[in-house]
């Protein structure tokens, strides 16, 4: 995680004598922020858990133990260490399902961020470079999408495409486009007025080179922050879609889908409902802390404080 933001540091302020390396400078700001560090550590832990799910989880996620329906967590009467966080209504180990569920959430986050960032940056740069009709039509489209609440728009897109994890990710990526397009366009327009772009243009750089090599790296700071925040919202929204029955379908151990399955046991077996939610909350909270820390460390305006 630590080397990606290096491209994002504004080169202009590194002209002072013996400037600190961008990564070192970023890290010196970032490590001051205890919340952001905690977020980073928790996030790394969740990533490790997801990668090594096969070793961490004591049971297979969809293995049903028919003699152990709705067993409570180990510290309650009737619970056992065999099922740390208890079992669900068909006798599956909740802890193992949560561990495997981390994979889904992280994959959802990565795919949504990659998809929406790629499309968003492309559209934003095009809007900034080719003014006129192209810009107006792109930005109007984004305004229309913003008129609909994001989850609602995602629900509609899933309704058109059909329910399922992939369509849910696609829908969420589309829904996140407007913010990214606006951010990219604003940052790119700001950069375009600077001398180095003119210099590059005068020396004969084509639009593709100008866009991708000259301008884009200098627009990355706000985009990286937005990407982290999109990562956490994507996990949250995908879980919400799963909860509404429009995301991942059972028996996938996706956290939102697990909650949807657990709904009817709300008053009978608290553990079936509680733990998937905690998993979502902890992951999203860690990412939001991380995002806040990144914003503070990358935003030159806030650095003075």
């Amino acid at each position: 995680m630590n080397d990606t933001p290096s491209v994002a540091i504004d080169p202009v302020k590194n002209t002072a004598s013996a400037p600190p390396k961008p990564i070192a400078e970023f890290w010196s700001y970032f490590k001051e922020n205890r919340g952001a560090l905690t977020g980073l550590y928790v996030f790394i832990a969740i990533c490790l858990m997801a990668i090594f799910a096969d070793f961490v989880a004591p049971h297979a996620p969809n293995q049903q133990y028919r003699e152990f329906f709705l067993v409570p967590p180990f510290w309650q009467d009737g619970g056992s260490l065999q099922f740390l966080l208890g079992t669900d209504a068909v006798g599956r180990d909740i802890f193992s399902r949560l561990v495997y569920g981390a994979r889904y959430s992280l994959i959802i986050g990565v795919i949504v961020v990659v998809l929406s960032l790629t499309l968003g940056i492309a559209l934003g740069l095009i809007a900034a470079f080719f003014r006129g009709v192209t810009e107006i039509s792109i930005m109007r489209m984004m305004d229309i999408m913003l008129a609909l609440p994001s989850l609602l728009l995602a629900v509609v897109i899933v309704a058109i495409l059909g329910p399922g994890l992939f369509n849910a990710m696609l829908a969420i990526s589309i829904v996140y486009l407007p913010h990214l397009v606006r951010l990219t366009r604003a940052a790119a327009i700001n950069e375009l007025s600077k001398d180095y772009v003119t210099a590059s243009r005068v020396s004969g750089a084509g639009p593709m080179r100008l866009m991708v090599i000259s301008v884009l790296p200098n627009c990355m700071a706000p985009l990286i922050v937005q990407a982290t925040l999109s990562f956490s919202s994507a996990i949250l929204d995908a879980a919400a879609l799963g909860f509404l029955g429009m995301g991942a379908q059972p028996p996938t151990p996706e956290w939102g889908t697990m909650l949807a399955e657990a709904r009817e046991f709300v008053l009978r077996a608290w553990w079936v409902v509680t733990f998937p939610g905690i998993a979502i909350l902890v992951t999203v909270l860690a990412l939001n802390l991380l995002g806040d820390g990144l914003r503070d460390a990358l935003d030159p305006k806030l650095k003075r404080q």
């Binding site: 409902v273 998937p276 909270l285």
Partner: protein, 336 residues
């Protein structure tokens, strides 16, 4: 002022046209034959198929279809639900008050807690209170509200038995809706305990739906207050010996409110999205639940009409916020 007003109103029109294009395209983007979708699962004879095609206007050129569609919208006709055969507009506006009532309560909950808490956190910057509030706000902001609702049900309905689990009022009470707002209707009905029952049904959904706006408002108020408290006029007000209460309440808060009002306006969309989840959890008979039910019943005219009406509401509320913003902040009004 008039010029500002008219420009803002004019800017809404292309967005609205875009929304109609989107909803118009929606029903045609759904995979499969629209007639078979509209006719339901029974299937239709070729003659009936052609007849339905003509009656829905699918045999006409697309441009003409769109023209008819927009024309109907402007006459308040959004088609009929496939399931109930009722006009979509009627269904929507029967359920709309339930969502509005819930949203208003959630917003009041968020504003009345979020504002003072945000102000206090800014005034006592760096204190334990400040850290607690900001931690809680970030947690609230990261909250999967559908899970939060279930947790509250477990605790308040399951363990303590204080609040009901679902619906708007106990089934013991029945009266004709007058305004559609249960709090008002239950008072008008004059039945003993009806109002209390309505309130008890409203508490948990209000908290659930208000959580994210509350977190956002508290954070925004705090940062806006911090910015304003560092301004020269605040120092001047303090220097001339005004009571701290007055400096904070009048000089600082008034100016800090401007960004906060924008954020409050932006929460309307969040409320609609949250209403979908909150209403599903609490079986609240509003448009959020109706929309999800319509999608699962593949009642596309209802989905289409519902989306159009929700988007229109959001656009109008945002417009209203913009105009209010111009009223309270002359700098916006006279820009360019």
């Amino acid at each position: 002022m008039l010029r500002f007003f008219l420009t803002r109103v004019a800017l809404v029109i292309p967005t609205f046209v875009g929304i109609t294009l989107l909803t118009f395209a929606m029903i045609r983007l759904v995979p499969g034959d629209p007639i078979e979708l509209l006719a339901g699962e029974r299937g239709v004879t070729p003659e009936r198929h052609a007849e339905l095609r003509a009656s829905y206007g699918f045999d006409k050129p697309v441009l003409e279809q769109y023209w008819i569609y927009v024309n109907n919208i402007l006459h308040g006709d959004l088609g009929n639900s496939i399931v109930t055969r009722q006009p979509v507009v009627n269904e929507f506006f029967t359920l709309f008050p339930a969502t509005v009532e819930l949203s208003i309560c959630a917003m009041l909950f968020a504003v009345f807690i979020g504002l003072p808490v945000g102000v206090l956190a800014a005034v006592r910057r760096g204190s334990v209170f400040d850290h607690t509030v900001m931690g809680a706000a970030l947690t609230g902001y990261s909250m999967p509200i559908f899970w939060w609702g279930l947790l509250l049900i477990i605790f308040f309905s399951g363990i303590l038995g204080w609040t009901p689990v679902s619906g708007r009022i106990s089934l013991l009470y029945f009266f004709e809706p007058v305004t559609g707002f249960m709090l008002i209707d239950s008072l008008l009905s004059g039945e003993d305990g009806a109002f209390t029952s309505a309130v008890s049904h409203l508490i948990l959904p209000t908290i659930v739906l208000g959580t994210i706006p509350l977190a956002v408002i508290a954070r925004q108020t705090r940062s806006a207050m911090l910015e304003v408290l560092g301004e020269d006029y605040v120092r001047t007000a303090r220097a001339k010996g005004l009571a701290p209460r007055r400096v904070i309440g009048v000089h600082a808060l008034r100016n800090a409110l401007i960004p906060v009002i924008t954020v409050i306006g932006l929460q309307v969309g969040v409320l609609f999205a949250g209403a979908v989840l909150t209403e599903t959890i609490f079986s609240w008979p509003g448009i959020g639940k109706w929309l999800i039910d319509s999608i699962s019943r593949r009642d596309y005219p209802s989905v289409q009409g519902g989306i159009l009406l929700i988007a229109t509401t959001v656009i109008l509320v945002n417009l209203a916020v913009d105009l209010v913003y111009g009223l309270i902040n002359p700098r916006i009004r006279y820009r360019r």
